[in-house]
Every structure is written in structure tokens, then in C-alpha cells.
């Protein structure tokens, strides 16, 4: 077995077809995770009686265990729960009809939610309290103050962390191969084992991931420059 440089390109081209799946998993998990993150962060910041401690427990559990265990638990546990409920209520729905990729979506969203919650929380904490007080003093309701005053500033502050989380989820999406979703990593495995050229295939996959990561980073840097415009100081 010799290294075949030309195969790297062949593998690269074949792997391109799997990029949408990877990006889709990343996009779904990041956006659903962001929503979960905002809700749980607010529960914790406002110390909502029962929901606050539940959020804390959720975050501790998820952050203390590997992403792979979440995926495996959802993959094996969710069908049992669904089929149980389905049998109980007499629905005509069976877990077998759930597409594989849904397990990846659900599990990665839950994972992302916990990490995003910490990002959102630190972003909200970074906003000066005076901003909220000023919003109240001109007669805004809490919801208005949060939406118009606190969130935009918190978003600007937490953008770098959000980008790191998104990159983390992009890299984490490689785990989807364990539930037989064909993302870039799984495709690389297929290409590698059918041609018996493992190194070349994984090198191509690494290059794609590297490119995607740098791309996310560049886009965030540009977005950050835009979103920080209000904050440049000076007089003009």
C-alpha cells in the first residue's frame, strides 16, 4: 500500500456531496440549541423556581458527559419511550418510522443547548445593569427591554463564543456516523474502505473540515465588525 496523492483529489470530489448533510446537522443543532440556550439561561438568571434548578441540572449533566453518550442514549432510549407512549395512547406511530438523521438532530440540539446556555448567560451578564434600568425608566416592559436593549448587546458580546460553539458542533457532527447518517466523516469511511485508501480519504475530509472552520471564523469576524459598529467610541 503506497500513498497515492492523486486519490486525495478524487476523494475530495466525492466527499463534496456529503457537505450539505454535515452543514444541515450543524445548522439545526446550533439554531435549536440557541433557542434552548436562551430559554434555560433566562430560567437560571431569573431564578425561576422549579425550572431554574432543572436547567442547571440539565447543563451540568450535558457538559459533564461526552456528546457521544447523548447520541447513544437518545438513539436507544427515545424509541423505547416513543413506542411505550404510542402503545399506551394507541397512536398508530412507530419509532421505526423516524429517520436516522432525526436522532442526530435531536441529540446534537440537546448537546448544543447546554453549551449555548452558558454562552448566552455570560453574554447577558456582560451587559451593564444600568442599560436595563435605563430601559425600565423610560417605561419599557421587561420583554421590551430584553428584546430591544439587552439581547442586541449580549449578542455582540457573545459572538466569538457562539462561533466557537458552532465550530464545536461542526466537529461534533462527525459522530453522526454512529447512527449511520452519511456525513463527511461517514462518506470518508465509505470512500476509504471501498478503495482501500484510508489516509488519502481522511486527509481530504480533514481539508474540508479545516476549510469550513476557517470559513465560519472569517464570517464571524466580519459579522462582529458590523455588529460592534455602535460600540466604536469617539465623538463622530
Amino acid at each position: 500500500m503506497k500513498i497515492d496523492p492523486s486519490f486525495i483529489w478524487t476523494a475530495f470530489v466525492q466527499l463534496l456531496s456529503a457537505i450539505p448533510t454535515t452543514l444541515m446537522i450543524t445548522a439545526v443543532s446550533v439554531s435549536v440549541g440557541f433557542v434552548i440556550g436562551v430559554i434555560t439561561a433566562l430560567f437560571r438568571l431569573y431564578r425561576v423556581p422549579v425550572l431554574g434548578p432543572i436547567s442547571t441540572a440539565y447543563i451540568t449533566f450535558i457538559r459533564g458527559t461526552p456528546m457521544l453518550t447523548h447520541l447513544l442514549l437518545i438513539y436507544f432510549g427515545l424509541p423505547v419511550i416513543i413506542d411505550g407512549l404510542s402503545g399506551w395512547f394507541g397512536w398508530g406511530f412507530k419509532s421505526a418510522s423516524i429517520p436516522m438523521i432525526a436522532f442526530a438532530y435531536i441529540s446534537f440540539s440537546i448537546t448544543a443547548g447546554a453549551y449555548m446556555s452558558e454562552v448566552v448567560r455570560s453574554g447577558l451578564l456582560a451587559v451593564n445593569r444600568g442599560q436595563l434600568e435605563a430601559a425600565y425608566s423610560i417605561g419599557m416592559t421587561t420583554f421590551q427591554a430584553l428584546r430591544r436593549i439587552v439581547f442586541p448587546q449580549a449578542l455582540a458580546f457573545s459572538l466569538p463564543n457562539l462561533s466557537n460553539s458552532a465550530i464545536g458542533m461542526l466537529h461534533g457532527s462527525t459522530l453522526a456516523f454512529t447512527v449511520s447518517v452519511v456525513d463527511i466523516n461517514a462518506k470518508a469511511q465509505i470512500v476509504a474502505s471501498t478503495n482501500w485508501k484510508f489516509f488519502e480519504a481522511y486527509l481530504a475530509a480533514a481539508v474540508i473540515f479545516w476549510g469550513l472552520t476557517v470559513l465560519i471564523e472569517r464570517l464571524t469576524a466580519r459579522l462582529e465588525k458590523r455588529i460592534q459598529l455602535y460600540n466604536r467610541g469617539g465623538v463622530a
Binding site: 431569573y46 459533564g64 451587559v127 466557537n164 461542526l170 473540515f209
Partner: protein, 263 residues
């Protein structure tokens, strides 16, 4: 879709005790890669700290690559690629144990993050500190070991603690190369008994216990190192007003956590 045997809680406990026995392998991977990562981290950080021309560029690309690609891809890349590459220089390591490749990959991966941590924490120490040390007559190495190192260490510990826990969780991927660590063992147990959910619940619980313990230990070390910092005694507020720039806060700005290629 395959569904195993009905849920049986007693199996969670028996799986837990069986999994506990393989904790050593996981901790070996963590320890081995931390050690490798520390050495690699220093080697990679130095050219960037001292601005050594060509090596500096190499360090940048190294860090960017290891932070910009998933660890899973890196594992496969090294496992399949390294023997091939070394064959070109007539070195046969295809018979080396899998654990060697696993620790090497995790070590190189951690090294990239470690180098960023070292770089950030050394630059976080105020230059005036070194100058002051010189002013009272300390020598170069004295100024470094007595003044810079303790302060840099204090900045580095929270980042280090995050890194160790991230590494612990990442080791769950070693099963893909057939290493019998916690996750690999849990999968085997699940497949043998068809009690998948119970085995994975026990697995999650072990990871939780270990990461919790590690965090507590490292937090204690951090508190010890940050003794010289004044604690801000103001009561916690919902949205903080101004915060004194503490070392904890500085670490948030370092951004040496997971993710990010920074090329």
C-alpha cells in the same frame, strides 16, 4: 430499528461496576495525552512567544490544523496515515499498539490547545512585573520562576481545567479504533446483554462523576493559585454593573477553549 431487552434498573448498577474497571484505560489516555500535550504545547508556543521566523509560521499552521479539524478525523488520519508516512523513511510502526496512536493523536490535539493556553497566559502577565523584578535586582530566571510563572499559572489553570474535561469527553471516541475504554466497554456490554440503555446510562454517570471530581480538584488548585487576587465581595446581581478585571475574566477573553482555527 433495533430495540433491545426491556429496561432493567438493576443492570445499570452491574454495568456501572463493570465499567468502573475500565476507567483506568480512559484515565491513562487522558494522562498520557496531557503529558504529550504539555511538551508539544511548549514546543509550539515558544516560536510564537519569541517570534522565531520560520518556526512561528509552522506553529500557526499546526495550531490552526488541530483546532480546525474534528478529533475523530485526526484519529483516523494518524492511525492510518502515520505508518504509511513512516514507511517512506523505512520505519515500521504498523505493529505498535492502538493505544499508542490514540495517545499520540490526543497528545498532538491537546498540544495545539495547550500552546494557545501557554501563549495567552504568558502574555497576560503585565510587562511591568518583569521590569519591577529586574529593578529590585532579580536575575532573568529568578524573575521568570518567582514572578511571571506563578501569575501565568493562575491565568492558565481555569483554561487547563476546561481542557482536561474536554479531553476526558473526547476520549470517548477512542472506541472507533477498537480501544476498550469506557465507551468501548459500554458498547460491548450493551451488545452482549442487549441492555443498551442501561449500559449507556451507567456510562454517562461515570463520565459525570469523573468530570465533576476533576473539576472540583482543579477548582481547588485554582483557588490556591489565585490567593493573591482580592475577592470582589459585592453581592451577585442579575445583570452585573462593572466588574473588576479579574483573572477569571481575563480567561474569558483568551478564548483558548475548544473550536476555532484562527488562521
Amino acid at each position: 430499528m433495533f430495540v433491545g431487552a426491556p429496561f432493567d434498573f438493576s443492570f445499570v448498577i452491574s454495568a456501572f461496576s463493570k465499567l468502573w474497571a475500565t476507567l483506568g484505560v480512559t484515565l491513562l489516555i487522558v494522562g498520557g495525552s496531557l503529558l504529550t500535550g504539555m511538551i508539544v504545547g511548549f514546543l509550539i508556543a515558544f516560536p510564537r512567544l519569541y517570534r522565531i521566523p520560520v518556526l512561528e509560521q509552522f506553529s500557526k499552521v499546526y495550531v490552526s490544523f488541530f483546532r480546525g479539524t474534528p478529533i475523530l478525523i485526526q484519529l483516523f488520519l494518524f492511525y492510518y496515515g502515520l505508518p504509511e508516512l513512516l514507511k517512506l523513511v523505512h520505519l515500521d510502526i504498523s505493529r505498535a499498539p492502538v493505544l499508542f496512536f490514540v495517545i499520540l493523536t490526543y497528545g498532538l490535539h491537546t498540544g495545539a490547545f495547550m500552546s494557545e493556553m501557554i501563549r495567552a497566559s504568558v502574555t497576560a502577565v503585565d510587562r511591568g512585573q518583569v521590569e519591577a523584578a529586574y529593578a529590585i535586582g532579580m536575575k532573568g530566571h529568578q524573575a521568570f520562576t518567582r514572578i511571571v510563572l506563578p501569575q501565568a499559572l493562575a491565568v492558565a489553570v481555569p483554561v487547563f481545567s476546561n481542557m482536561v474535561i474536554a479531553l476526558l469527553k473526547d476520549t470517548s471516541l477512542a472506541f472507533t479504533l477498537g480501544v476498550m475504554e469506557l465507551t468501548g466497554k459500554a458498547q460491548t456490554l450493551g451488545a452482549l446483554t442487549q441492555h443498551f440503555i442501561e449500559a449507556y446510562l451507567a456510562l454517562a454517570f461515570i463520565y459525570l462523576v469523573v468530570s465533576f471530581t476533576l473539576e472540583k480538584l482543579l477548582r481547588a488548585a485554582e483557588r490556591r493559585l489565585l490567593k493573591h487576587e482580592q475577592p470582589d465581595g459585592t453581592a451577585r446581581r442579575r445583570f452585573r454593573i462593572e466588574r473588576k478585571p479579574s483573572l477569571r475574566g481575563m480567561f474569558a477573553g483568551i478564548g483558548a477553549e475548544k473550536g476555532g482555527a484562527k488562521l
